[in-house]
Symmetry: C2
Subunit: 359 residues, 2 copies
Amino acid sequence: MKPVAVIVGFAKIISLLTGGTVASATMKMIASATGVSKATVSRAFHAPHLVDPKTRLKIMQVAEQYNYVYNAAAGDLSRKKSSLIGVLVPGPNKSFFGTSLIAMQDKAQEEGFSLVIGNTKYDCRIEKKIVEQFQEHRVAGLILTGFLKSNEVYFYNLVRKDIPCVFTWETMADQGLNYVGFDNYDAAFRITDYLVGLKHRRIGLLVGPYSKISRAASRLEGYRAALKKNGIDFDPQLVKEREPSHIEGKEAVKEFLKIKNRPTAIFAASDTLAIGAITGLKEKGLKVPEDISIAGFDDIEFAAFCDPPLTTIRVPSYEMGKLTMKVLIEMIRGASSQIRQYDLSTDLIIRNSCAELQR
Amino acid sequence: MKPVAVIVGFAKIISLLTGGTVASATMKMIASATGVSKATVSRAFHAPHLVDPKTRLKIMQVAEQYNYVYNAAAGDLSRKKSSLIGVLVPGPNKSFFGTSLIAMQDKAQEEGFSLVIGNTKYDCRIEKKIVEQFQEHRVAGLILTGFLKSNEVYFYNLVRKDIPCVFTWETMADQGLNYVGFDNYDAAFRITDYLVGLKHRRIGLLVGPYSKISRAASRLEGYRAALKKNGIDFDPQLVKEREPSHIEGKEAVKEFLKIKNRPTAIFAASDTLAIGAITGLKEKGLKVPEDISIAGFDDIEFAAFCDPPLTTIRVPSYEMGKLTMKVLIEMIRGASSQIRQYDLSTDLIIRNSCAELQR
DNA sequence: TTGTACGCGTTATCAC
DNA sequence: GTGATAACGCGTACAA
């Protein structure tokens, strides 16, 4: 049952009635002005070698004179192709997503595609609505970034249907989906292992909602694996699941302090949480890293400029965006329909927010 | 002379040849399946009252069954309207622009428009190219955010021509352009005046490239006016023009320290610069605000969580985005062609990075 | 209330 | 090389 799509299409049509006017010179016009047929004009543009240099020059001149601009929508319609790509982001204010977005834009433009962006604000219904908008504009492909688990079924249908899709930053279970991301497990493992190397054995984990976001779950696993490798027992008390925001980080860290035999280091699986945590510790009169070490995740621009500069994991945002778009465009062009999954590697960036345990 | 547009259109056509395939149920199909004409189907959607409830219901059912999705591009073509709006941003990684973007998206979707976004990376040629891409997709309108002065002439032509345009965050000289922004002059005046109220008389200004960005110029003027009002002589030595980045802020503040009779307070006309400045001061062993006061501008999310929390100017990003889109859509719908300019008001947010001058 | 016929701006397939 | 002509999917007089 999919009546919703129909209703939405309906509402859209109504609103279009009051949409923006469009007018411009057409091929037909410049054809008659040049004294040739529109077929020739079309050819002059997309197959110059098939047209006499003289007439071609003339056509170009007239086009220029009339300030002609190609109509991509009409072309797409005729050709039954699309030069639009839809990108779904959970909110463009996250600086790391932003970097990915820039990369996608770069690549898309390079290849002659335009980007339509929709931000979901982490709301399933909005997400659904935007995808429908995308479909009405006949996007050639879809990039899904950091979507929510709750929409899994919906997307699963979408992907299996017709539109080429690439997931990035976040993917669904272990379906055969195209995906570009990075190894969350490995990154979490390494930074946890690093903290153990600094003699910490009580290491707190401040992580995103892993029940909803699988990359958070991977980070939890990486953390546990690192503990295990070093013979440290896992203590559920030391794991706190929070939305990634400064405030949540600030509040959560205070709860960590209340634990008897409290952690000497905390791995906050997002720089935002880490910075909030540092703020919270300062409020409590504790020093980072002397009294407690804090490690982050993401390497946002600000991480190098907070106090103390944050030890964290650098995520290859730009490369991810570029690769995601590359994969999608290759799918669109039908180069190969095999499933592609990439995990780019991350870097451990050591700054000054973690220190060796003193005792 | 505008041969560039033509050449670009040409390149685009080539690339489209390898674009994405599009296929879906059409009105024609659901018409024959229902046993009516496509005109009736069309009406069933956008003028339900003109069609018999029975046939309408039947059409809807069939549409649903065939999983019909409205083709906005075709509709736009036929109606000579457009439901696409182009937004030009200088790079989506700035969190304050990001907030505006979300607002625009919200409003646009509400009104049945989709957003096509292009980021210029502060590069004139890219900017130009993207606008051409927009034109090829026949965007109904254009939002220009924080553009560069160097492109002024180009945009001036664009605006005067055909496409409805609204400028935001930044506008051109005092042409009759539609604009939504905030009062940079007033904001700079107030925060400078606030610093004077804290007994500072040597106040440094760390400002964006005011020769290129007019809002930076306004902030400079507001700063000067506040000094004048308080009988303080303007000292060119105390003004430094820098690109808004952490590093520039860090470096610039060190130069301030070299000045004999150095400033006791610095107004950094961007939080990024301010935070960089604080970092620089800490490196030099100085305390904020005890040794020197720092004020910012923008109130980015992080401003409340740095050390010390930043006294700054809050900019109504969300409201600006919403209003900008509202104005544009009204223009598109031709409600009125009169020029509209808005300056929203800002708030002075007092935190702990500025203190009264001790002596 | 419904159908016919044409147009929107472009491309593709034939001919010439 | 170039020109008719028919699509592409939809809207809309106009007529029935």
